[in-house]
């Protein structure tokens, strides 16, 4: 069942937005959930977090960063093209309640899945503080959208080209140390960032939720590729998550398992580049 791409846009270098026509999934999608897609007959199944959804128009928005062959292929597609498979909504929805004050932390492409949650927390009556970070000002994602749904928005860049010169964790720490009352933290971004945020919030005993981007195949609990250790118990990120209590997650294991196919991923990406650029290696 092919799924039409309605919109495709490079937001910032290497980060793309894609709207997919998927009425049945859009009807059901909730913040925190993900989809699995396949570009074509020989393609692999990759999970991507839902960045937004439009129930009326029946669309799902995804934001992805080009990191390997499949995302390179995705980036080469345009509006009017089709995805071979698009499966969802998978995983558990984020728990959105009126907690009081929530701190939303998005790093890099992780800002995209943070956005619908920030909006939902705002709609649920929370005071929403947000921090978005990137390596450099030109790589900041969705600042405008995040500003719209946040009571306060902090920006950090690793190189100091915009906002605070440093990491998102610096702001998390400053807020907590400054006595800002925070009832819940949601952090989505690279595993290193999520681990650091967990480390900062732990001594303050603030409930911190992270979304884990494990390697998956089916995404329905069938294969166990996405095994993560949470509170010393093995969980499947696809059906038990993808969101977990950050203070209980074994991030070292997560990162080790994410690196499992690095040589194969490199080979596939190089082969794809070669084929596209017509070299004969």
């Amino acid at each position: 069942m092919p799924f039409e791409i309605l919109k495709k846009q490079e937001l910032i270098p290497t980060i793309h937005l894609m709207d997919i026509s998927a009425h049945r999934i859009a009807r059901r999608a909730q913040p925190g959930q993900f989809v699995i897609l396949r570009t074509g007959e020989t393609g692999e199944r990759i999970p991507l977090t839902i960045a937004d959804f439009d129930r009326e128009n029946g669309t799902i928005t995804m934001i992805f960063q080009v990191v390997g062959k499949t995302t390179m292929q995705l980036a080469s597609l345009s509006a009017g093209d089709e995805l071979r498979d698009f499966i969802g909504p998978l995983g558990n929805p984020a728990l959105i309640e009126n907690e009081g004050t929530v701190l939303m932390v998005g790093g890099g492409v992780g800002v995209a899945p943070v956005f619908p949650q920030a909006r939902a927390f705002k709609e649920a009556g929370n005071k929403v503080l947000s921090i978005i970070g990137a390596r450099s000002a030109s790589l900041l994602l969705w600042e405008d959208r995040m500003r719209e749904v946040s009571d306060e928005l902090y920006i950090t860049t690793d190189d100091g080209t915009k906002g605070h010169h440093g990491f998102v964790t610096d702001i998390v720490k400053k807020l907590l140390e400054g006595g800002t009352k925070i009832d819940r933290v949601v952090a989505i971004g690279p595993p290193v960032m999520m681990r650091s945020v967990a480390g900062v919030t732990r001594p303050f005993n603030v409930k911190t939720i992270v979304s884990l981007n494990s390697i998956m195949v089916d995404g329905t609990g069938m294969c166990g590729a996405c095994r993560v250790l949470v509170g010393n118990e093995t969980k499947f990120a696809c059906v038990d998550g993808p969101e977990f209590d950050a203070h209980l997650v074994d991030f070292t294991l997560l990162m080790n398992r994410l690196a499992m196919y690095q040589p194969e991923e490199k080979l596939a990406a190089e082969k794809y580049k070669c084929e596209r650029e017509g070299c004969t290696c």
Binding site: M1, R24, I25, R28, R38, T42, G43, E44, R45, K69, T70, R84, D85, F86, I87, G88, P89, L90, V217, D218, T220, G221, M222, C223, G224, A225, R227, L229, T234, V239, L253, N256, R257, A259, M260, Y261, E264, E265, L267, A268, K271
Partner: protein
Amino acid sequence: MLERQKMPVQDPQVRRYNFNEVALGFTQEQAVEEAKRCLQCKKPSCMKGCPVEVKIPTFLNDVAKGEFDSAIKEIKVDNALPAVCGRVCPQETQCEQACVLSKKGASVSIGRLERFLADYERKRGAEIPILPKPTGKVVAVVGSGPAGLTAAADLAKMGHSVTVFEALHEAGGVLIYGIPEFRLPKDIVSSEVEYVKKLGVEILLDSVIGKIETVDELLSEFDAVFLGTGAGLPSFLNIDGENLNGVYSANEFLTRVNLMKSYRFPEYDTPIKKGKRVVVVGGGNVAMDSARCALRLGADEVTIVYRRGEEEMPARAEEIEHAKEEGIKFRLLTNPVRIIGDGRNWVTHIECINMHLCEPDESGRCKPAPTPGTEHQIEADVVVIAIGTSPNPLVPRTTKGLEVSKHGTVIAKEDGATTKEGVYAGGDAVTGSATVISAMGAGKKAARAIDAYLKGK
């Protein structure tokens, strides 16, 4: 008369390096000769051994006369997937075990003849039976594995309109993701699926029921629902080191190889770790399949570790024999204790302990117990855990009033009726992991029960 026709097979030393089918199938002459061995018993016991009630002596009689077209038509009255059953049914414990010839010598090779006929028909293009007038009733089938496809085909042949919802991107369930190409070529599964579609069944892929739609919602659009959701949740040993890189559930290992075709990486995008020394834990068909896939991916040594003895192995005798011929090593009465890594999260060894058998347990098999002081390590860069599966809780958890057992299996009567009105279930979802043919038998019974239910509605 007492000797069976020999099944031509690929040489073990050749086939261990390829994914092509192991058994090559009877020639026409062989098929006729083999079918002539049938005694045409007045009270055929073989039929009682068939979960889908194929009229075995009738089709064998046709084959003996060289009337292959009528023979396959006869099978298809009762069995929509003969090319599959002829390959993966455990005939030695079903129809062939019940064959009177097996008491004197060797039974008629019923399964191989079924396969021969299905292959004969496929080459010529399958004939579609004349369907009855539509009843106007609509039925949803969840899952396109053996139970779902059988229920769908039978319901369609009864005149009902059937829609199948499949979670994966290809139809066939375990026939596609689980059983390897060399035992059940995927082209054959596809053509069996095509046949079911030609009966008018619509198959919606990429549709995870419980997520995109619940069973309760299906009931507002359909007159009845059949759950053939299988047993897709992998069991792990719950020992140290199971999350090391290189440790797979058999489900993941086989799904990567079969569904995603990772044995053809990088032509296909999905990678798999091709171990040099692979250990597979378990003694069922899935363990044999995993071991034989690992070998074909290029392993130097593949070892099966099983906690009981060979007699207790649940795998088909033929599969154990094929695995041995291909050079798979068996370490029986051996059980894993922990899996050891290299400090960077990659598996290097599996530590096992010797077992000995004690009194029979509730399953009737001897209960294995560890022999203290016999711990030893086996080198491994890939470990596959093939110790069984249980039903996926996705559908039961999202369906009001659908009761499950403490093992997570859907509670259903003999005819498939569940605790929820209008919802029927069958196959591994009800029994826990079992065989393709028992799932098909359950799909067939449920189709009859659904038909009766719809008539009374």
